[in-house]
C-alpha cells in the first residue's frame, strides 16, 4: 500500500512508548485493538479549544502544537499524549492541539478512558508519572 503501515506496526510502536512499557504482548495487542488510529494533515486541528466531546490521544508519529488563544505554548511529539485533562475534568479543552507536521495518533473516546485506566493500572501509573514530570517543569519555569 502506498504510504501505508504494516499491521504489526501499531503494536510495535506501542511497545516502544513509556506509557505502555509494563504491558505484555497480548495486552499490547488488546490496546492496539481498543484505540482507533487517526491521521491529521499539517495545520489540521486535532482538539478544539472550548468544544466538548473530545478524546484521549497518543502521538505515534509527527508533531503537534499546543495553541492557547492562537499562541503556541508547547510542542508535542512521538509518545506524548493529550486530551486527558479535559476528559478527566469533564470540561472542554482550554487549548487547541494543531498538527504542525503530518500527525498519526491513537485515539480513545473520552467516555472509555476511565474504564481503560482502571483495566490497565500500570498505564495509569505511567500516566501519573508523566503528569508529575509536566508539573515539575511547569514549577521550574515559574520559579
Amino acid at each position: 500500500m502506498p504510504n501505508g503501515q504494516s499491521d504489526s506496526d501499531v503494536v510495535d510502536v506501542l511497545a516502544q512508548l513509556s506509557l505502555f512499557s509494563d504491558l505484555s504482548r497480548p495486552q499490547l495487542e488488546a490496546v492496539a485493538h481498543t484505540f482507533e488510529e487517526e491521521v491529521f494533515a499539517e495545520g489540521q486541528r486535532v482538539i478544539r479549544q472550548g468544544f466538548g466531546g473530545t478524546g484521549f490521544f497518543i502521538i505515534m508519529d509527527g508533531e503537534a502544537a499546543v495553541r492557547v488563544n492562537g499562541e503556541d505554548a508547547a510542542t508535542l511529539t512521538r509518545g506524548d499524549f493529550f486530551g486527558e485533562v479535559s476528559v478527566l475534568l469533564g470540561e472542554p479543552p482550554i487549548a487547541d492541539i494543531v498538527a504542525t507536521r503530518p500527525l498519526r495518533c491513537l485515539v480513545l473516546a473520552g467516555g472509555d478512558l476511565e474504564g481503560f485506566l482502571v483495566e490497565y493500572p500500570r498505564v495509569l501509573y505511567r500516566m501519573v508519572q508523566a503528569q508529575a514530570r509536566r508539573l515539575r517543569s511547569a514549577m521550574q519555569w515559574r520559579s
Partner: protein, 502 residues
C-alpha cells in the same frame, strides 16, 4: 449484457471521472448529473450494485428501511427512516428500496437492496461504462490532469472520484498460519458447516454475522479477538456489532456452548483436516489452544488503492483507507476525491468517539451529494441558487433541520445545515456542509446546526456560531421523543442567537 453492447464513455478527456458502480459511485454520478457536470462513470462490474451483489453473505442487511413511517414515502423526512435508498432529485427517484421489500423484515434482503439500486440507476438514467477495469493512474503535469489507465484505454480528467468501496479482503499479516485461513468472503454455504467446530477470528459485524448464520449448523462456535466485543446498543454507534447479530453473544453469556473470547491470536496451525488455533487471553490472561474443523478470518476489508499507488496517496489504518480532507479529497494528492464507503477515511469531529455513518449507504449517500456540489462550485463555477432566509425564519428553519433533517440525523456531528449572514445583513441558506469544514475554516459570520449523541447516549442538537472569525459551540437540550422544534428549544436557540441575528 445489453449494457456492454452500447457502452458509453469512450476513452478520452472528461471534466470528471468517477470509478465504481456501487451505491457510492452511482450516487455521486446522479448528483453530478443533477448539477449538469459532465463526467464518465467507469466500472469493472457488469451491473450496478457493488458489494451488494454478493454481501452480506447471509442475505439480509443490517440497515433498515421502514415501509411505514411517520414521514411520507418519497419525501426528504422519510430518508430518516429509510437507510438504504439513494437520493434522487424528484419523488419518483426517491425511497426506491422500500418498494421492493416483501414485509418479512424491515432489514431488506440483499436481492431487495440490489433491485432498489438497479431501479435507481435505471430511473435516473445513470450511464456506466461496464466491464472497464481501472489499472493505474498517472499525473500529466503539463496539462494539469490525471490520466486514468483502464482496460479500455486512457481517460484524462481534472478531478478523479474513486468509489471502489472497501472491497479488498484484508487479513493481518502478523499471525503465522493465517494465510491458510479462508477470509469471510470465502465462507461456504451454512450446511457445509453441519456438526463442525468453527473458530471465527474477529468480533465485529462480519464475525457475528457468520456466527449467527452458523448457529443452527455448527457443533461449536468460538469467536476470538484481542479486545472485548463492542455492541451497538451499549456504545450507541452503528460501527459496533449490531443487535440483530447478537444471538451468538447471548448464547455465550448464558453458557449455551458458544464462546466469545478476548484473546490475541498467536498462530494458526494445520492439523490434518482441521486447524489448531493458539491464542493468549487479554481480558483474562491465559494460554489457549483450540482444535477446530474450520477457521474463518472475519478480519475486515481494505480499499483497493493499487491503481493510485504511483501518485503517493497517503493512507492510514494499516493502509486500508486513504487520508482525506473534510470534502473527501486526498490530503496528499489534490484532485483525487473519494466517494462511497471509502469516505469513512474523512473522520470528522468524532465527538464523544462517535464515528460518522460514512461506512454505510445512509451516511455516504449524503457525502456523495455534498461532494458533487463541492466539485461543481470549486472546479466548474456551478453554484446552486442560495435561498435568502428572512431573519424571522432563521430559528424555525434551524430547529426544523435538527428535528427532521435526514443528513443531520444520519451523519451526526459530521454534516450540518449552514446559514451565512452577508455584510448587508441578509441571510443565505448554504445547505448541507461538512461540520469539520465549518468549525476549522475561516469564513463570514455563519451558523451551523448539527445533531449529536453524547457519551451518555443523549441525542441533542448542537449549534455552532461563527462571529468575527471564531466559532463557539452551544448545545441544546435533548428530548425523550426527539422533538427539537418546540417552545423550549425555540427559547434556547433565540437566546443563543440574539446577538447574531440582525
Amino acid at each position: 449484457m445489453a449494457e456492454l453492447a452500447s457502452r458509453p464513455f469512450e476513452p478520452g478527456r472528461y471534466p470528471v471521472v468517477v470509478i465504481g458502480s456501487g451505491p457510492g459511485g452511482v450516487q455521486t454520478s446522479a448528483s453530478l448529473r443533477a448539477l449538469g457536470i459532465r463526467h464518465a462513470l467507469l466500472s469493472s462490474d457488469d451491473v450496478p450494485g457493488g458489494m451488494f451483489r454478493r454481501f452480506p453473505l447471509f442475505q439480509r442487511l443490517i440497515t433498515w428501511t421502514k415501509p411505514f413511517a411517520p414521514a411520507e414515502r418519497r419525501t426528504r423526512p422519510y430518508e430518516w427512516y429509510d437507510w438504504n435508498s439513494l437520493l434522487g432529485r424528484v419523488p419518483s427517484e426517491q425511497s426506491l428500496v422500500a418498494g421492493f421489500m416483501d414485509g418479512t423484515s424491515y432489514f431488506p434482503s440483499r436481492p431487495e437492496m440490489e433491485q432498489g439500486l438497479a431501479a435507481f440507476a435505471s430511473c435516473c438514467d445513470i450511464r456506466v461504462r461496464y466491464g472497464c477495469t481501472w489499472e493505474g493512474t498517472r499525473r500529466d503535469e503539463e496539462a494539469d490532469r490525471f490520466v486514468v489507465e483502464t482496460s479500455d484505454g486512457d481517460y484524462a480528467c481534472t478531478a478523479l472520484v474513486v468509489a471502489v468501496g472497501m472491497t479488498e479482503p484484508w487479513k493481518p499479516s502478523n499471525i503465522p498460519g493465517i494465510e491458510d485461513v479462508p477470509h469471510y468472503v470465502d465462507t461456504r454455504g451454512a450446511r457445509t458447516y453441519a456438526d463442525r467446530r468453527v473458530f471465527v477470528i474477529g468480533k465485529r459485524n462480519s464475525g457475528f454475522e457468520i456466527a449467527d448464520g452458523l448457529l443452527p449448523w455448527a457443533r461449536q462456535l468460538i469467536l476470538g479477538s484481542p479486545r472485548p466485543a463492542k455492541i451497538s446498543v451499549l456504545t450507541h454507534s452503528t460501527a459496533a456489532a449490531r443487535a440483530r447479530y447478537l444471538q451468538p453473544y447471548e448464547d455465550h453469556v448464558l453458557g449455551g456452548g458458544t464462546f466469545v473470547l478476548d484473546a490475541a491470536i498467536e498462530r494458526v496451525e494445520r492439523t490434518g483436516e482441521g486447524f489448531r488455533v493458539h491464542a493468549s487471553g487479554t481480558s483474562r490472561p491465559g494460554a489457549y489452544a483450540f482444535d477446530v474443523d474450520d477457521v474463518v478470518a472475519a478480519t475486515g476489508f481494505g480499499t483497493p488503492l493499487a491503481p493510485l499507488e504511483a501518485l503517493g496517496v497517503k493512507t492510514f489504518y494499516q493502509g486500508r483507507l486513504p487520508a482525506q480532507t473534510p470534502h473527501w479529497e486526498s490530503t496528499t494528492v489534490p484532485g483525487v476525491f473519494f466517494a462511497g464507503s471509502i469516505t469513512q477515511g474523512s473522520v470528522g469531529l468524532k465527538k464523544y468517539g462517535m464515528p460518522s455513518s460514512s461506512a454505510a449507504v445512509h451516511g455516504f449517500r449524503y457525502n456523495g451529494r455534498v461532494l458533487a456540489e463541492h466539485l461543481a462550485a470549486t472546479r466548474f463555477g456551478v453554484r446552486p441558487t442560495r435561498r435568502t432566509v428572512e431573519p424571522s425564519e432563521v430559528i424555525g428553519l434551524l430547529l426544523d433541520e435538527a428535528a427532521h433533517g435526514p443528513e443531520l440525523w444520519h451523519q451526526q456531528s459530521y454534516l450540518a445545515r449552514q446559514l451565512t449572514r452577508g455584510s448587508d445583513g441578509s441571510i443565505a441558506d448554504d445547505g448541507i456542509v461538512p461540520l469539520q469544514q465549518f468549525v476549522d475554516q475561516a469564513g463570514p459570520d455563519s451558523v451551523a446546526i448539527a445533531v449529536e449523541t453524547d457519551a451518555e447516549g443523549d441525542i441533542h442538537p448542537a449549534v455552532y456560531l461563527r462571529t468575527g472569525g471564531s466559532v463557539e459551540e452551544h448545545l441544546l437540550a435533548g428530548d425523550p421523543l426527539l422533538r427539537f422544534d418546540g417552545e423550549e428549544h425555540r427559547a434556547q436557540l433565540e437566546s443563543i442567537m440574539k446577538e447574531w441575528l440582525p
